[in-house]
């Protein structure tokens, strides 16, 4: 068994002058304090990567800087799924008796630490160097291809996709740490500049500075215990050219494995935290995970299903689309928000019941998937 005992999240947006290590340190400090732990209690450490600070040993660079000497530490790289993959690994390290308190950290000055072009180019490298990158695609183009096909097969429209941007923005308006604070409408999304068809600027998550951290422990350290019920992964391809058909993507495989491992059914879930790098990502994942019927997710958004007071509150902090996306920390914000909701600390964003949560991360171009279930122990 393992428990998420502490979380920390920085505001996302611009942190002018802060380095990757600065942002990671600040998030880690918050998570430690939240768990009521000291540096000396941490015997396991996991971190992701940073495009502004590439390093072959980021975990030990951070550990030395932060002042911890764990008995187990390394960085891992699973693109956007890194945060969820780290949480899964931390859970397994604790369950396996390797560590008692695993600190998990992601952070990057992705917005102010490099030019916009450098950021776009670094991310486009998830494509195949010879067979894809040479054609000049961008991440929005990879997802634009997916969106084009998904819309074709399931009758989803651009206006449908826009609903997800509007929902995430509405949620972000209630969180002071979010990158965006201006309300938007479907018309605003539709009128925003085209990036790569059918995706427009407001269909895409921003580039942000930020950081997030959590602690996974063998025993609860606070009054309310949030237990990791289990997690599972699926990796079907790296490059979109080599992806399986839409019906065979990894989200469905990962969630099926997670359900089998934990015995949790989708009908048990009360809160959802789902990766939303683009509106199409969120629409597809909700449907792949079984949180909406095929082609029906947008209708559920319109009906208020995924709102704070709906039947399945979703990314109440605003998600990648409107809280922001700083790389590894991006989807870790989903996990932090889930923990706040489950422990009743989400303030004006608090949902009625977050007793069982489903989290899902995606890396690459729907390449790598991690599904996880959390439960509030009664």
């Amino acid at each position: 068994m393992s428990y998420i005992t502490g979380v920390g999240l920085l505001p996302y947006g611009k942190h002018e002058g802060s380095s990757t290590i600065d942002l990671m340190s600040r998030a880690a400090e918050l998570a430690l304090a939240d768990a009521g732990l000291k540096r000396g209690d941490i015997d396991g450490f996991l971190c992701g990567y940073s495009t502004t600070m590439p390093h072959i040993m980021l975990a030990t660079v951070f550990a030395e800087h932060f002042g911890i000497t764990p008995s187990y530490a390394h960085a891992i790289q699973v693109g956007g799924a890194t945060g969820m993959a780290m949480a899964m690994l931390a859970h397994q390290l604790v369950e396996g008796g390797v560590a008692r308190h695993v600190l998990v950290v992601g952070g990057e000055n992705r917005l102010t630490g490099q030019s916009r072009d450098a950021s776009i180019q670094a991310l486009a490298q998830v494509g195949h160097p010879a067979y894809e990158v040479s054609l000049g695609p961008t991440i929005p183009a990879y997802y634009g291809l997916v969106a084009n096909r998904y819309m074709h097969e399931y009758g989803v429209t651009q206006e449908d996709l826009a609903e997800f941007a509007v929902l995430m923005r509405a949620h972000a308006l209630t969180h002071p740490g979010a990158q965006f604070h201006e309300p938007i409408t479907v018309a605003d999304v539709m009128a925003s500049k085209t990036i790569a068809t059918p995706l427009k600027l407001l269909d895409c998550c921003p580039v942000s500075d930020g950081g997030a951290a959590l602690v996974v422990s063998r025993e609860p350290t606070g009054k309310i215990a949030i237990r990791v019920l289990g997690a599972a992964q699926a990796h079907t391809h790296q490059h979109i050219t080599a992806a399986p058909p839409l019906s065979g993507l990894g989200a469905e495989i990962a969630i099926a494995r997670a359900r089998q491992a934990t015995g949790v059914e989708i009908s048990d879930v009360r809160y959802a935290a789902v990766y939303d790098s683009f509106t199409i990502t969120l629409a597809m994942l909700l449907e792949d995970l079984g949180l909406a019927g095929r082609g029906e997710a947008a209708a559920r958004v319109r009906a208020g299903h995924f709102g704070q007071h709906g039947a399945m509150p979703l990314n109440t902090h605003g998600g990648l689309l409107s809280y922001g996306h700083c790389g590894v920390g991006g989807a870790m914000a989903h996990l932090v928000e889930t923990h706040l909701q489950m422990t009743g600390r989400a303030e004006n964003r608090q949902v009625k019941d977050a007793s069982v949560a489903l989290l899902h991360g995606d890396g690459g171009v729907l390449s790598s998937h991690v599904s996880m279930f959390l439960e509030r122990v009664k």
Partner: protein, 122 residues
Amino acid sequence: MSELKPAADWTTGTEAISFQCCRACQSIQYFRRSFCAACGSSDLDDRVSSGEGTVYATSLVLRAGTPEARAHVPYNIVLVDTAEGFRMMAHGANDLVIGDKVKAGYRQFTGHLVPFFERSGS
């Protein structure tokens, strides 16, 4: 493992689309390797595609990532299912839609050759 010769195709500046066919298990693969990704055999046959196929998906890029690519916008990134059975990424005419029957030609893009699909007559 046998040494892999560079492909004589668009990735090395030749107007062709090549792929590999495994003599052991008959699997085909587009991303060139010294072995068959399906069965591991190194007995691979180099083949050249007819350049004919069907559009699987398109995305017209208006915001490019590099100054060199920006000179070409808008350009259409397409996934094409070739007649030989593999999927490939390429450029295509801006008005292509899913299901269009297409045929490959070639164009220059940021200083190198890329396949460019246009609607075929039929």
